[in-house]
């Protein structure tokens, strides 16, 4: 059983072409996610981002610059959210002089938090990344 996708969106004051680079260029990616990235932006190419010791691993699945890309997503060493198991879709839509970026993170394991091993392993597997995202950018959160 799969859980509901996690979705998120943001408006960025830059053209889709510029924003797209931040998903396919390693140097640009580490400006917002992770400390190291190895990105081989072609179908089947490697998608690897290290976020404070947590290794996000997957593959590029679809690339349609500058509109859309799809990567698989998992964590090295996690047997539930294993490398490549979930799917992250990135949609880039022009809006005025900027871009709406929408993330749809699908195929996540169901949220069986209480007393179910799969849910728990999944949960723990994701924590490092979550912690890293918080720890890496203290005070870097835009107010919402």
């Amino acid at each position: 059983m799969a859980a509901e996708p996690v979705t998120a969106a943001v408006h960025i004051d830059a053209a889709p072409e510029e924003v797209y680079e931040y998903f396919v260029d390693a140097q640009a990616m580490v400006r917002w996610m992770g400390q190291r990235a190895r990105l081989d932006p072609r179908p089947g190419g490697e998608f690897a981002v290290d976020v404070n010791g947590s290794e996000v691993r997957g593959r590029f699945v679809e690339l349609d610059p500058p509109h859309r890309l799809v990567v698989t997503w998992g964590f090295s060493g996690s047997d539930v959210l294993a490398p490549g198991t979930s799917t992250v879709e990135v949609h880039l839509r022009p809006e005025g002089s900027g871009t709406i970026v929408e993330i749809v993170h699908r195929d996540l394991p169901a949220d069986e938090w209480a007393g179910h091993e799969r849910g728990w392993r999944h949960f723990v597997g994701r924590l490092d990344t979550a912690v890293a995202a918080v720890g890496a950018a203290p005070g870097d959160r835009a107010p919402r």
Partner: protein, 104 residues
């Protein structure tokens, strides 16, 4: 508890292991400590951090105190996880817009 506290508590790998140990059944400090090479006192301190963060509950069982998972705290963490992508996108926005202004 706040989600931040929970994440701070879970940043320590041993504490994540401890949570997994008490996931399926309540356990005493002794049982938990048997899985680690650190002192029982250190294990107790880690458990206290998990308790303060609302991730485990403690109940007395005769002479012992049993630690068990606290599902309510976990749901809050789940909520926090669903905010993860928005947070990353905020950082993306910051990076792109500052780079663009610099004429990248």
């Amino acid at each position: 508890m706040t989600a931040e506290e929970a994440f701070a508590a879970l940043a320590e790998p041993r504490r994540r292991t401890m949570l997994l140990l008490v996931r399926d059944e309540p356990r005493s400090v002794n049982e938990i400590a048997a899985h680690f090479e650190i002192s029982q006192q250190a294990v107790s301190q880690h458990l206290q951090v998990l308790r303060d963060a609302g991730l485990v509950d403690v109940r007395p069982d005769g002479q012992r105190r049993l630690y068990a998972i606290a599902p309510g705290g976990v749901r809050e963490v789940r909520q926090f996880l669903s905010e993860l992508w928005p947070e990353r996108l905020d950082r993306l926005k910051g990076a792109v817009e500052s780079d663009t202004r610099r004429g990248r």
